[in-house]
């Protein structure tokens, strides 16, 4: 190397510029700027970090080595679901969300960032059409947070303490909900029977009173679209509780939107709508309600609204009821709001626009058809049972291995054959998943391998 090294990310690291700027502000060295950092707080040594890979070529080589130690679901056949789903992400979705103008923007005003406001308002609106609800938030972090907040919203509206969980819920999600509602609420899990809500037990729990919400999932953690979902709403309302339903948005071209069977607050994660799985890192949480002021007043999230501008025929955008938020009034706001997952919301908007009403119906139909086919095929394999086979399922379904191998051992054997089996729920049970990306041959291959392995 000839001259001093100015890192490509740091333009003013070039010594002449640095000297000129120091002179301009009357400083001897950059040390002058740190005069307020007492000696006792100074690190006084270089950070102990790996030697840098300053050339882009070296960095790419290093990263390629690391990524080479991952096997992706594109390399092999995967039957993993359970909250994160392998769906096809259309090329146009990536094209839009990879645009510099969206990817590197943050929080500009509705003028220089008009595009961001319109794209997010359209996301809210497209989700509103799918959910048949008039109010949808700028996304929160993920479906776990959306569920926690939806329940706390129900708590603030009703002033009641107990939250009844009527569906099977992913243990991790339940962990988040419990932690999140802890200051104000008790979570009462009403155990499911045969994978479905125990309606009598829910009724009895409601009769004890002080219930803020009945919480159900459609589909549930075990993939079941519970026929009791409408009745749970009726029971909740009869007791003065709200009905909170967590749904998988990609099911809604076929499955009824929860608002149509009584849900007051609908929540979930948009990951299935055009967001890559990314090892569980691709999420955005939606919360939706009717346009009732008391419900709207309880949202912590930003809500963008459309408004006129000074010029006829222009759409402008801005924050609806901003004074609710912690941005406006700190701890007096509803929970908190901060940077969350906006671009994944834009991705979901692009996905819904591409799919349209036909695409959403078709993807739902294909997933349900594949799920039913997989259930039927696997249930016929000796040593494999599908415990709730008769219930309507969407994507996920539980499988029990009754042969010589445990669920984990079955997965080991499948992995040796280049297949990711379903997530082991217990020694004998696993959660399998198929979506529109699976072909009949894929499912037949799984069944054939299990015939060999699961005996």
């Amino acid at each position: 190397m000839t001259g001093p090294f100015a890192h490509p990310y740091i333009p003013n690291a070039a010594p002449d510029v640095k000297r000129e700027m120091l002179a301009a502000v009357g400083a001897e060295s950059v040390e002058d700027f740190y005069a307020d950092v007492p000696a006792g707080l100074r690190l006084g040594r270089p950070l102990d970090l790996p030697a840098p890979m300053r050339s882009e070529a070296a960095l790419v080589r290093h990263m390629s080595g690391l990524l080479g130690r991952n096997t992706s679901t594109r390399d092999v056949l995967s039957f993993l679901g359970g909250g994160v789903y392998q769906h096809y992400v259309p090329a146009v979705v990536d094209e839009v969300v990879d645009r510099s103008e969206f990817l590197t923007a943050y929080a500009g005003e509705p003028y220089e960032d008009h595009g961001r406001f319109q794209a997010l308002w359209e996301y809210q609106s497209l989700m509103g059409e799918l959910l048949e609800l008039d109010v949808v938030n700028v996304p929160t972090y993920d479906g776990f947070q959306a569920a926690g907040t939806a329940l706390r919203m129900a708590g603030r509206v009703t002033g009641a303490r107990r939250l009844l969980v009527a569906s099977s819920v992913a243990p991790d999600k339940l962990s988040k909900i419990r932690d999140y509602v802890r200051p104000d609420h008790d979570v009462v899990v009403v155990p499911v029977v045969d994978g479905r809500a125990d309606v009598a037990a829910v009724r009895a729990a409601l009769a004890e009173g002080d219930v803020a919400a009945v919480y159900a999932e459609a589909p549930s953690y075990l993939g079941i679209v519970d026929p009791a979902l409408p009745e749970l709403g009726e029971l909740a309302h009869a007791s003065g509780a709200l009905y909170v339903v967590n749904c998988n948005p990609i099911s809604l071209g076929v499955v009824a939107p929860p608002a149509s069977y009584g849900a007051d607050i609908v929540c979930g994660d948009v990951q299935p709508l055009g967001v890559h799985m990314s090892f569980g890192g691709g999420n955005a949480g939606f919360i939706a309600t009717r346009d009732d002021e008391p419900l709207v007043a309880e949202f912590p999230s930003r809500l963008f609204g459309v408004v006129p501008t000074a010029v006829e025929g222009e759409y402008g955008f801005g924050d609806v009821a901003y004074e609710r938020t912690s941005f406006a009034i700190r701890e007096e706001g509803k929970e908190w709001v901060g940077t969350a997952a906006a671009l994944n919301g834009i991705a979901a908007g692009v996905y819904l626009a591409l799919m349209g009403p036909q695409g959403m119906r078709e993807v739902g139909e294909t997933i349900m058809a594949n799920t039913r086919y997989a259930i039927t095929r696997l249930a016929a394999v000796p040593g494999v049972e599908v415990p709730h086979a008769d219930a309507p399922h969407f994507a996920d379904f539980a499988v029990r291995f009754t042969g010589s191998r445990t669920a984990a051992e079955v997965n080991d054997a499948l992995l040796e054959r280049g297949v990711f089996g379903g997530h082991a729920l217990s020694e004998r049970d696993a959660l399998y998943c198929v979506t529109e990306v699976h072909t009949k041959d894929d499912i037949d291959r799984l069944a054939a391998l299990l015939e060999e392995i699961a005996k």
Partner: protein, 526 residues
């Protein structure tokens, strides 16, 4: 087409292009783009879905079948793409503008090469429940990133699970709550102390987690009032949640005393390091005695801001809080990386699975490209840029930098246009909007406006001297306009995608419209 006839011989003067004017003659894209619901062709589709190869399923009961098709537009692929590309052009990102105006947000360059890694299917198409043997690469990235952030903060362990900065603040208060619950002190310790110049999420997350909030205001020099802290602490204190340097850019040199005061009262101290960019490799959370801290990886560690997320947060803790970290942690036995979910005292899950993995990969790659020396250079140049810009900005009529007169600032400054407002009646918000006419923008401050007519600028290491000169020239021009032709500023924007919005309807339940459904119903009466 024929060229226009020349009237005579040409000279080199005819070929000379005049120099650029000092300020850019910018105009934002104005496509006058309709709403997506106004587009489309009946029956058109944007993407074809795999058709079922097996019989359709008919197990759904009638009540759970969707009745009416969703009112989504019917659009061909090109038309969806074109709509969103037009919207993207009507947006400014770091890549497009001199984005020093979003102080506290650390708008820096997000290297393009790092985006490539996360678009690779060996990141994007990993399922979180895959066998650990098939994800050793990404687990190594997470494990090493944790180690590097532990070194940068001085903390013992770091959780990469929080989805963003505020989620990391929440994670920290959740761990504080679990810590005191485990000691049987939670009922007694129900207060959290923060400062008005710390991000509002410190107050809001503490309240959400069930604590009462005490907010300290600055003393006359702009430092959080240490006497007020002494008066506030006591047996009810659970924690101090504080930023340093605060949003004023002033480093609180007595920070270790603050920590000691809270520790003596039996409380914990959590350091909001959203403003860490100027002190990387200079001073660390641990060095000031903090028990917890957090970084925003989308700020300090370069991951893109993505219109407001996905971002990523990192929560660092000292040894005594390690049992309470979110689960799972990533462990390494010398040969294999694994996820440890067996952590009985853990606060549990903050979000699904392990964190916003794409941004963990980007942050890892960014640190790896810079190393220790590079990180320190980041800090030093960010601070140099800030003090240089401050010098230029304070030469502008009507602006000041309240507090700590004569002192240097770290990575940002909260300025005040109070004098300009008094002289002209023009507000800071209006100046920020007018700045958009020159291809940039700025942000005022969080609420409440403790500094009147605020403007917060944070020129990170990514901007050149020429960028900073241009930015200061834009502010100077808008300030001149405010004094000489204030209507130009008040009626801005003039060169933007749209004109001034009528905000009033957004606060009225009769007129707010959060979706197209609501707009049609309430405004169009359909």
């Amino acid at each position: 087409m024929s060229a226009p006839a020349n009237t005579g011989p040409v000279s080199t003067d005819d070929a000379r292009i005049a120099p650029k004017p000092p300020l850019r003659r910018f105009h934002q894209a104005r496509w006058d783009e309709p709403l997506i619901f106004e587009l489309g062709t009946p029956g058109a589709r944007g993407v074809a879905v795999p058709a079922p190869e097996v019989p359709l399923d008919d197990t759904l009961p009638e009540a759970l079948r969707r009745k009416d098709a969703p009112g989504l537009p019917d659009m061909s692929q090109l038309h969806v793409l074109r709509h969103y590309l037009r919207l993207s052009q009507e947006n400014l990102g770091v890549d497009m503008n001199i984005d020093v105006g979003q102080g506290t947000c650390t708008m820096k360059y997000s290297p393009k090469v790092n985006d490539r890694f996360v678009r690779d299917h060996r990141v994007s198409e990993l399922h979180p429940l895959q066998d650990e043997r098939t994800v050793q690469g990404v687990l190594e990235v997470m494990h090493t990133l944790e180690k590097m952030l532990a070194e940068i903060s001085g903390m013992d362990r770091v959780s990469l699970q929080p989805g963003a900065g505020s989620a990391a603040i929440y994670t920290n208060i959740a761990m504080i709550r679990a810590y005191f619950a485990a000691r049987g002190e939670l009922e007694q310790r129900d207060e959290v102390i923060t400062t008005i110049f710390s991000h509002p999420s410190n107050a809001a997350c503490a309240k959400t987690a069930g604590f009462k909030v005490i907010t300290l205001y600055p003393d006359k020099d702009g430092y959080p009032d240490i006497e007020a802290l002494k008066a506030a602490v006591g047996p009810r204190t659970a924690a101090l949640m504080i930023t340093n340097p605060e949003d004023t850019g002033i480093f609180n040199s007595r920070i270790a005393e603050f920590v000691d005061i809270v520790h003596e009262a039996g409380g914990l101290c959590a350091y909001d390091q959203a403003n860490a960019n100027g002190i990387l490799g200079i001073t660390r959370a641990r060095d000031a005695g903090f028990d917890l801290c957090h970084f925003n990886l989308h700020k300090t560690f370069s991951t893109p801001h993505a219109c407001g997320g996905p971002a990523a947060g990192a929560s660092g803790v000292s040894e005594k809080l390690v049992p309470f970290l979110p689960r799972p942690t990533v462990e390494f036995d010398g040969t294999r990386y694994r996820l440890d979910d067996d952590r009985p005292e853990s606060v549990g899950k903050i979000r699904p699975f392990y964190g916003v993995v794409p941004n963990l990969v980007r942050a890892y790659a960014w640190i790896m490209s810079l190393g220790a020396e590079g990180l320190r250079e980041v800090a030093e140049i960010a601070v140099l840029n800030n003090n240089y810009l401050m010098k230029k900005v304070l030469e502008i009529r009507g602006v000041s930098a309240p507090y700590a007169e004569g002192k240097r600032r770290i990575e940002q400054v909260r300025y005040s246009w109070e004098e300009l407002h008094r002289d002209t009646g023009v507000h800071s918000e209006e100046i920020g909007v007018r700045a958009a006419d020159f291809g940039t923008h700025y942000w005022t401050s969080h609420h409440p406006y403790v500094v009147p007519e605020p403007m917060t600028l944070e020129p990170t290491e990514s901007y050149s001297k020429q960028d900073l000169d241009e930015y200061a020239a834009i502010l100077a021009e808008v300030a001149r306009e405010a004094y000489e032709e204030p209507e130009t500023v008040r009626t801005a924007p003039h060169n933007s995608t749209i004109h001034q919005v009528r905000q009033a309807t957004l606060d009225d339940p009769k007129t707010w419209a959060v979706t197209w459904r609501a707009y049609r119903r309430k405004i169009l009466g359909q």
